[in-house]
């Protein structure tokens, strides 16, 4: 039963990721892209959790922990940049 659920969840998460990526591409502003990246990071963390269930290997959870406490740093970095330079790159 899990197999199916997990497959579906994988599928849905994959679709979500692609959608988020579309926003990343479309922008239009830099913060929009950063937000998309943050969502992708969240999805990755979720996927890792699903992996743990899928494989029964708890070690994967550590990746989720790492994501939880570091992935937001990228946003902080960009935020800094946006404040210094404005959100339009060029």
């Amino acid at each position: 039963m899990f197999e199916w659920v997990v497959e579906i969840v994988y599928f849905l998460l994959s679709v979500s990721m692609l959608l988020a990526f579309i926003r990343l591409v479309k922008g239009p502003s830099l913060p929009d892209r950063v937000v998309a990246l943050e969502l992708i990071a969240s999805i990755v963390a979720g996927m890792v959790g699903v992996h743990a269930i899928d494989t029964g290997v708890s070690a994967y959870l550590d990746i989720a922990i790492v994501l939880a406490i570091t992935a937001f740093l990228a946003a902080i970095g960009f935020a800094r940049f946006i404040q210094v330079r404005g959100m339009n790159d060029e």
Binding site: E7, Y10, F11, S14, V15, M17, L18, F21, L24, V25, G27, L30, R33, V34, A36, L37, I40, A41, V44, M47, V48, H51, V57, A59, Y60, D62, I63, V66, L67, T70, A71, L73, A74, I76, G77, F78, R80, F81, V84, R85, D89, E90
Partner: protein, 764 residues
């Protein structure tokens, strides 16, 4: 022998101190070669009785190089000439260069040159001979370029060096081939062997050796460097032209005569080159108006003659060779010293200017007469004997040769008579400096050498028993019967000799009147002669170098990368195409939808990172790519990789952001065509690498060693995370290197950011 060499080298080394710090009389330095002369005379009895002296000192046995010496008649003749004439040259120079600021260096290089020449003629080992050969090229370069602050002087010195070293490289190749042919590098063994078989290998070898010898001995078409070597101070020219340097080429041909004379390539080439050089040298000598140039071209003529004689190779020829060599050394050294003296004294060496010196320089005049007559080959001088033998030998060959010889002889007679007549006779004229007689130190050499010239002419047996016979024996394959005589009776040779004298006198009479034509001809030949070829070659080297560097090292990184990519991957593609083929698709692991999605996302993110015009969009997109790679790692059982990838990704973004804040964004510099080209190259490279990976997938030559890690990770490494145990224990050295990589990167970043705008500190 080694002692002699060391003594001279030592003298060379102390010469600068001797002259500059101790300020001792320079003339005393001449005692060293004089002592060397006496030392060499020691060997005379043994050598004359047909027992060559052999000395051996190990040097580099692995490559067959030993510092061994083989002193037979030929060597001894040269040793005596070098030390003997060398002594007078030093004596002469001590006066000639008195007070010159670079006097010490001059003696340094002159003595080193002398030592090299001595080593060259005495070497038994071909390789050692070559070592000395190259040393003569180099030391003579330093001497020719003595007036190095003049650009012309530097240029001409380079010319001599370039040609002789170039020839030297060929000679080396020839020696290597000779060594592998005969199985030894010892001349004493090689001269016992006569190579008679024919092959391309041997022909190539002969050509190499001959080219080496021809360049050194200024044979046509390499003759032009020699007159240019006049840039050197007179003592050097005198030494270079008489007993050393240029004779080295002749020497090596004579040395190898017993071994190679049966090769028709060898003798024919010598015949032709010798004849051409002789004629050309004589002609140019007659055409020249610069006193030293005249002498230089006459040297070219003499070298051609010597080569020609070896090419003829008959009994007369060989004995003629040795006699001519000896005669030439004696008169040419003298003439040079005298001509240099005239130059020194009057401030000019232009024959057109010089006139009426008879009264002011009587001794010089007298000596010049003797020298010039020996050059012209008039009895009873030794030069006459050499010339007789030449004619005799020439008669032994085809008809055309004797014509050439007579024409050349005629021209030389014309030259010789001009040397006597033009500068010394007639009314005295105003010259750059008021002429005065030469000091004794400058006259001593000519006096002694020309005396010998007369002496050997009057009593040829003295020369024969002393030197010539033994020398001829070492050249000849068989015992030689010809004896040296001043008077052979009236024969064809004598008649031809008389003919040349008469015709030569006419030429000398015409000398002044022919000058305008001569200058015209000189200009014309400058344009098409081999020297202009040399200069064009040098120019084209420079031009080609500039073109090539501009084409290859063009400074454009994009082009570099294209070349690198194609150079790396095109051969790979060829091998794949040629011997691997396209692999079948292996689907042992069917990708799931999820995996496909991750790969797709990875590719999309990459593509967008490439396509976007915003560098921060690019960074973010690469972040997404990093996350999908991390997910792939996680999905395919590599959690540690996943964590690391995620962390590195995040920190990379942080770093990129903070650094790139101050760098402008992406700019589009390339045209569409360039982008298309780049895309094609990149796709080709990607395609090849894909192919490589695909082809590698099914290949498994051996099972992996990883079983060991899995089995022993806990047992021996005390850890359950096998990857970590590998990192910190099994392959800890990798990790050690890696943390140093990080530390280095940190240092690099630190210094780049912090050490800046410091003014130029001088990069020494």
């Amino acid at each position: 022998m080694i002692g002699l060499l060391l003594a001279i080298v030592l003298t060379a080394c102390i010469a600068p101190v001797w002259t500059h710090s101790w300020r001792l009389p320079r003339a005393l330095l001449a005692l060293v070669p004089a002592t060397g002369f006496l030392y060499c005379l020691n060997w005379w009895p043994a050598v004359a009785s047909g027992n060559p002296v052999l000395q051996t000192l190990s040097w580099m046995p692995s490559i067959g190089l030993s510092l061994s010496f083989y002193i037979d008649g030929l060597s001894l003749l040269f040793l005596l000439l070098v030390t003997g004439i060398g002594s007078f040259i030093i004596l002469y120079a001590s006066s000639y260069l008195k007070g010159h600021q670079d006097e010490g260096r001059f003696f340094l290089w002159l003595f080193l040159f002398m030592a090299s020449m001595l080593g060259l003629v005495a070497s038994d080992n071909l390789l050692a001979l070559f070592v000395f050969w190259e040393l003569t090229s180099f030391t003579s370069y330093m001497l020719i370029g003595f007036n190095h602050e003049s650009e012309k002087s530097r240029k001409l010195a380079l010319q001599g060096l370039f040609i002789t070293v170039g020839g030297g490289l060929l000679l080396m190749t020839g020696f290597i081939m000779l060594g592998s042919l005969t199985g030894t590098y010892q001349l004493s063994e090689i001269v016992q062997i006569s190579i008679s078989e024919q092959s391309h290998f041997i022909n190539a070898m002969l050509v190499f050796i001959l080219l080496g010898a021809f360049t050194k001995s200024a044979q046509f078409p390499f003759h032009f460097w020699l007159p240019n070597a006049m840039a050197a101070p007179t003592p050097v020219s005198a030494f270079l032209h008489s007993a050393t340097m240029v004779k080295a080429g002749v020497f090596i041909m004579a040395r190898l005569h017993p071994t190679l004379s049966e090769q028709s390539v060898w003798s024919t080439a010598q015949l032709w080159a010798g004849a051409a050089t002789m004629l050309l040298g004589a002609w140019l000598a007659y055409m020249a108006t610069d006193l030293k140039k005249v002498l230089a071209y006459s040297t070219v003529m003499a070298l051609g003659t010597l080569t020609l004689l070896l090419g003829i190779g008959s009994e007369y020829a060989l004995i003629g060779f040795v006699s001519y060599l000896l005669a030439h050394s004696l008169y040419k050294a003298s003439l040079f010293m005298l001509a240099g003296g005239v130059d020194h004294s009057t401030g000019t060496k232009d024959l057109l200017q010089l006139q009426g010196l008879r009264a002011t320089m009587p001794v010089t005049f007298g000596l010049i007469i003797v020298g010039a007559l020996s050059l012209a080959g008039l009895p009873p001088l030794f030069g006459f004997i050499g010339k007789e033998l030449l004619l005799e030998a020439g008669l032994g060959v085809d008809g055309w040769l004797i014509v050439v010889i007579v024409v050349a002889a005629t021209l030389v007679v014309g030259v010789a008579l001009t040397l006597i007549v033009k500068p010394f006779l007639g009314q005295p004229v105003t010259l750059p400096r008021p002429p005065h007689e030469l000091p004794p130190a400058m006259l001593a050499g000519p006096v002694v050498l020309l005396t010998l010239s007369v002496l050997f002419g009057l009593a040829p047996a003295l020369a024969e028993q002393g030197l010539v016979h033994a020398a001829v024996q070492s050249i000849a394959v068989s015992e030689q019967a010809v004896k040296l005589k001043l008077w052979h009776g009236v024969n064809t040779a004598l008649l031809l000799s008389l003919l040349s004298l008469a015709a030569g006198a006419v030429l000398a009479f015409w000398w002044l009147r022919s000058r305008r034509v001569a200058q015209q001809l000189a200009k014309w030949s400058d344009r098409i002669g081999p020297e202009s070829f040399y200069f064009r070659l040098m120019d084209s080297i420079a031009a080609f170098a500039t073109w090539q560097t501009g084409a290859i090292q063009n400074g454009r990184l994009g082009i570099y990368m294209i070349v690198l990519l194609l150079a790396t991957l095109a051969p790979v593609a060829w091998v794949l195409f040629d011997s691997v083929g396209f692999p079948g698709w292996t689907f042992e692991l069917i990708p799931t939808v999820y995996e496909c999605a991750m790969v797709t996302l990875m590719l999309l993110a990459t593509a967008y990172a490439v396509r976007t015009r915003s560098r921060f969009a690019s960074i973010i997109s690469l972040g997404a790519m990093g996350f999908s790679v991390a997910l792939l790692f996680v999905h395919f059982s590599a959690p540690d990789l996943g964590i690391t990838q995620v962390l590195v990704e995040t920190l990379t973004v942080l770093l990129l952001v903070i650094v790139l804040i101050r760098v402008p964004g992406f700019a589009r510099f390339s045209s569409n065509a360039e982008r298309l080209r780049d895309a094609a190259v990149a796709l080709f490279a990607g395609f090849v690498l894909s192919w490589v990976v695909l082809a590698a997938l099914p290949v498994q030559w051996a099972p992996t060693i990883s079983e060991y890690f899995i089995a022993n990770s806990y047992e021996l490494g005390k850890g359950r995370n096998i990857v970590n145990v590998i990192l910190v224990d099994f392959r800890a050295l990798d990790t050690l290197g890696e943390i140093f990589v990080l530390a280095i990167a940190a240092l690099g970043v630190y210094s780049m950011m912090k050490l800046r705008k410091g003014a130029d500190h001088g990069k020494a």
